[in-house]
Symmetry: D2
Subunit: 427 residues, 4 copies
């Protein structure tokens, strides 16, 4: 990956920034509650690289906080809104999600109460395990897209916002293959008009965002902005887009460990991963089609990092299995168990086993913050189209056509830092 040298001097970050979220569930409400407590100084923004991260200079001697070298919006200037298939306000949704403690829920109550979801675009063919009770009516998908665009404009107007970004935290949709309707912008808009079932709700939100000039990131593994039609539109309109699938748990750990294994030229015979999920996300993934979207997203990282083409002696005969299980006792916490079969000198086998007791929304919430701030920075710096320097945040990083995605967390970080330094240098 190469440093993007086209950043312009970013526009000022003053004014209020709207963060619009399709899917006001556990991640979105945890994000919103955290913002509120951070603003009031009751907690630190743990997990947010933009707030706590440090960049060292080339000599490794001086270190500065990221937020001190690029002009990011302030946490205090963010306004959260969004859409959901359930009409619950943010407080009710947060309580149902079961992520936050009683004390945190009460402390952020007022702020959460103020988040009233707009009615969602919903299609049961794409998320068969959910029932939508708070959904838009429309006669064509084109009309659905128009309604979302109106929502964006109205949200901006009512809240007196200067800029808006959209970060999708919706449930995983059924696995979708690229189709004719996704190819060119004309194909896509005709398909909207004809309510072609190849167009998913996730694509409609992405389309609406781009049409409104709103930067867009996809936190779920669903096929959305990375279809050719929308990438073309984003490039043409100069709107930054990024995705997909927040890198939060097991895949995060794999993209940390695998570069270390490769660094030491250790071999790998196999890697087995199993996941226990107990929340709405887990239930949705019980549907075989949604499951497939997630599985495909999770499988690619290892092959990409270990690159059997470059290291045939070490990785060419690797077994890789990723298993996802809905296990209700786990609740919003999630658990991973991994076993990697390594080989060393003379081919002797060794094993490493990792048990991760994580929390989905707690890991995802700061990514919403970082992506909102960095996409907004990109927009102000004149950077449109796919932002592959944000690969750091995703399980399935999008790249400009013809380039391979980078999965190695440390190379992703290096790339992110290089880009921030480049932006800082033109600021």
């Amino acid at each position: 990956m190469q440093r993007t040298d086209h950043a312009e001097e970013p526009e000022r970050s003053s004014g209020r920034l709207g963060v619009l979220i399709p899917g006001l569930g556990s991640v979105a409400t945890t994000f919103a509650a955290g913002l509120d407590l951070i603003r009031r100084g009751e907690t630190d923004p743990v997990g947010s690289l933009t707030q706590l991260g440090v960049i060292r200079d080339a000599a490794g001697e001086k270190a500065r906080r990221i937020k001190d070298i690029v002009p990011l919006s302030s946490v205090g200037d963010i306004v959260v809104g969004g859409w959901d298939v359930v009409a619950d306000d943010g407080y009710e949704a947060a309580r149902a999600a079961g992520v936050l403690s009683e004390a945190h829920l009460e402390s952020a109550r007022e702020c959460l109460r103020a988040i009233e979801p707009m009615a969602a675009v919903f299609d049961p063919r794409y998320v068969s395990r959910l029932e939508g009770s708070h959904v838009k009516s429309y006669t064509s998908l084109r009309e659905a897209a128009e309604l979302v665009r109106e929502d964006i404009r109205e949200f901006k107007r009512v809240n007196g916002l200067d800029r808006v970004v959209m970060i999708s935290c919706a449930s995983t949709e059924a696995y979708a293959q690229p189709r004719k309707a996704h190819h060119g912008l004309e194909d896509f808009e005709r398909a909207l008009e004809e309510s072609d079932p190849a167009i998913s709700p996730a694509m409609i939100y992405a389309y609406a965002a781009i049409r409104e000039g709103v930067p867009y990131a996809n936190g779920a593994p669903s096929l959305a902005v990375e279809i050719p039609a929308l990438l073309q539109l984003a490039a043409e309109l100069g709107v930054p887009v990024a995705g997909k699938d927040f890198k939060t748990g097991q895949t995060l750990i794999k993209t940390i460990l695998a570069p270390g294994i490769r660094a030491r030229a250790l071999g790998l015979e196999g890697w087995f991963s199993t996941n226990l999920l107990g929340n709405r996300d887990g239930m949705v993934l019980e549907d075989p089609e949604s499951h497939k979207s997630k599985e495909v997203s999770k499988l690619s990282a290892l092959e990409s990092i270990l690159d059997p083409g470059l290291y045939p002696e070490l990785y060419e005969s690797m077994s890789h299995t990723v298993d996802i299980n809905y296990y209700p006792p786990r609740g919003d916490a999630k658990e991973g168990w991994d076993n990697a079969d390594l080989t060393g000198w003379l081919g002797y086998p060794m094993q490493i086993k990792i048990n991760l007791l994580a929390r989905d929304s707690i890991l995802a919430a700061p990514l919403v913050l970082d992506l909102a701030l960095l996409l907004d920075l990109a927009r102000r710096s004149g950077m449109g189209g796919v932002q592959d320097w944000l690969s750091f945040y995703f399980k399935s990083p999008m790249t400009p056509e013809g380039l391979h995605p980078e999965h190695d967390l440390f190379r992703q970080l290096h790339r992110l830092e290089q880009e921030l330094v480049a932006i800082s240098e033109v600021s």
Copy 2:
């Protein structure tokens, strides 16, 4: 860390390279047997970065094997020798070590039989759990050092070697504090003369190597070359030295994971590590003094990587415990169990637990190969003194005075690669 720009064009790597090893035990015999099988094409050099590692160019597009860009000695040109407190030849020592399979032992039998240890410098005060039955007689430590120097010259002559390096694989010595005898070269040589108990066997080997112009690396945590007297001598004579304590198991994994945790700005409340060792190494570490040397070596990595000074919100109140246990059923295999207590958004706790079923000698043997080849390269490139670009291989990396050691495996790798590229550019 900065790239060292002083490398000269390396001298040609032709001719035979001797690798002299104090401590011809499990690591050394596993190394030697592997070399033999690699030469005969029966196995790949798994675990060796110099043989299988790849460097990508700045654009990340082209990739070349390390051994294709710098002029390293060939595996076929290496001759192994050394010293041990037991007179067993390499085959008997390998069999006693219990690392290699019957098939590997027989396949490498001839090569192992040819390794006859020279009598060792031994001091029971430094390794109380071993008995030395094959040790040198001398009337002063100066004489001991002279005997080792003669051994080096004789080994070179008998084997028709062009160059020699020394890689210490000796047992961990008792913890030693810096003393007067270690300060200046004169102090040190007077202490040798007076057989000062502050001079350990490890220091005598290091001294002899440097005096003979032989590059030296310390694979154990014992205090050896990093005393001021020997560092001064190495710098003056232009002999490359490196250390200490091979980074092979649990610490390797920690220095992979910790940079990933920091990259994501996740907090850490505590890290508990326990180790099961069943071999001679484990038995030696039962002695509280040797134990202390190891523990000190293992504790520093985390503090250094997570840097509570730069990240006070995340790491300033971290608990860190490292436990080492002698557990005979484990044999030469070694096992680690780690628990790290992470915090995320809003301070919520998460845990990661790692169970590592590793093999000490299998992980260490390729490091002997890499260090031998890279120190020899450094010598031919005119690079003397502390080689901190080799930090990648050590639990307690040595650095030139005034610099902080780098523990982050990925920064260490980056530095190593930068140095190799610099050498390749002057070649």
Copy 3:
């Protein structure tokens, strides 16, 4: 469960005992090699309760080895034979299985070479992942059964055996529901005549054994002897039968732990189990139908032990998942990872996680020995039909009609010991 008081004084155990095994694969060859080494005093019969187990008297003061209180056949008197779909002799099969070390293979070579499998009854509808190259030809399933009966008689004659038992170690067959053909003996024999596809190879072996008066145990989860037709036949002919599915790995551990959890009146919210299998067994279980047979067999134990009917406050809302994965790097070793979510006082959650690094054939082989000896003892003691006192050895214990199976390992052991004491008292 109650002690069976009907045991007669057992006939003498003198003479040679044949053990005929459908499926001469990894378990059978490991069993045979072990017998050979035990006979020659090179190893102890680890894992065999009949050889090493001890029974304490009621007062808990005196303890005697089981083999000293009941008249079991001697290990030295056993002759092993069987059938397989592959023509490899025992040595080749053992080598292919990859269970035994080179040293053990060579030591038992002669004994293994002597085991030449007879051609198997094979039906690809029941084991779709295997190819049968060494199979019987017949025009009806009745003829197939006759051929097996002839094999038994011939094996007995050729080897000069006094008695024979059959222990099935065949691959898991596709899941089969009870059908009309299984109801009465007449139905079954008509179905044999008509080559009804409801009759599986496992049933044919069981039928042949019983018809020959040969005690039969089923080590796989396939539906075999527990169909009404064969149970009726076994009862009528006074032939002891037992099954099914050797309790060797994860289920063994669960039936140890679950009684302990219940003993302490701790609650259970959920239990998640995943398994990694790398051998032929694992490959066969990749077929969804064979998988189902295994899964059904593995799921029942927990529900039975924890009995939500008796303990509604503790176990009525438990989640239970068992996952089985084919993972080739594991080879004949097998690995389980379990997570149990416990609750304690005031409902607070706790977790226990178990990682089992086991070896399938190593755990199963001594069960073949014990079952052969105990079924032979039962036969000599006049005990026909279902031997539920052997539940100790099975994942899915068979019981006489109307009784619930006992899964609790300690109650199973207690029952086994009571029965042995009862037999010893009439001896």
Copy 4:
């Protein structure tokens, strides 16, 4: 072990039962809060065998709750009190302990507030890591004992109690060897008079209880009632006593698993256990002397269950290590990691690793309830002296002189059930 046949028909269980607890810390307050919530029907008595346990009749067909077959006191009739070195009331102590959720603390607030600790007998030589700010003044240890006896009588009077039991939940004292002062009652009383430092606070509480006719159990590993002097006194006065060291976490799991390993005649090469404790208990155990008391208590179970005398082939060369670590991030939760190295058929190695995420006080609280009820039952049934049928509850079960302790959880349970049945038969 044999059934005790000497139980008399128990006296009626009517009236109020006092439970006096030396050490009103996390266990005692968790116990008290739980009682309160159980009485009000807000929770079930999870973890309590007396409340939820079931006994099956000999035929295994009928099952009845324990509390329905023996006349136990009712949970509603219990009054809790005790002593502590800190003057905090039960609510403050529970809050400091960090075991209970905010919701549980508030729900049980009134009940906890009512528990005001009496001043403790304290000796810093025995618990060096604690500071006692709420301690009795006395001029001799005899006076200290008298003060405790007065406290007992006063507590009984003020609360209108019919009967009292004492369950010690105090911190672990320094390891103490049996001394002269412990031998006979006269020695002991003379030592009290002389304030002999061989007399620990734990012994004083036990002495006071027995002298008052109050049944006593010791939940800590400290040397208390099992000294000859106190055992003699308990026997003479017919006061039931039991101990020691609640079996709650890792040892509980070991005494479940080890009987299962032995049942299957599997070998054991080694067992390594490590523990993370973060509460006051853990801090106290940092003191090497307290640590030793705990370690000795934890080591005996395995040797006793696996009995290398009876099973020399399987267990005679077993390594066993138990490690205890103070790790503050764990708080009142406690974590164990165990590795057991098993051997099977032909000596092949296997491993089982157990990670237990437990909660100390949550596991111990129901044991306080059970022991209080069962000791009171014993008292009413005329059973004095050591109650070895309560071994089920202890890490280091006390037995009458000359008998071996039973550690196998399932034999312990069997013994407990037999005794309850015997009592029920005379009721």
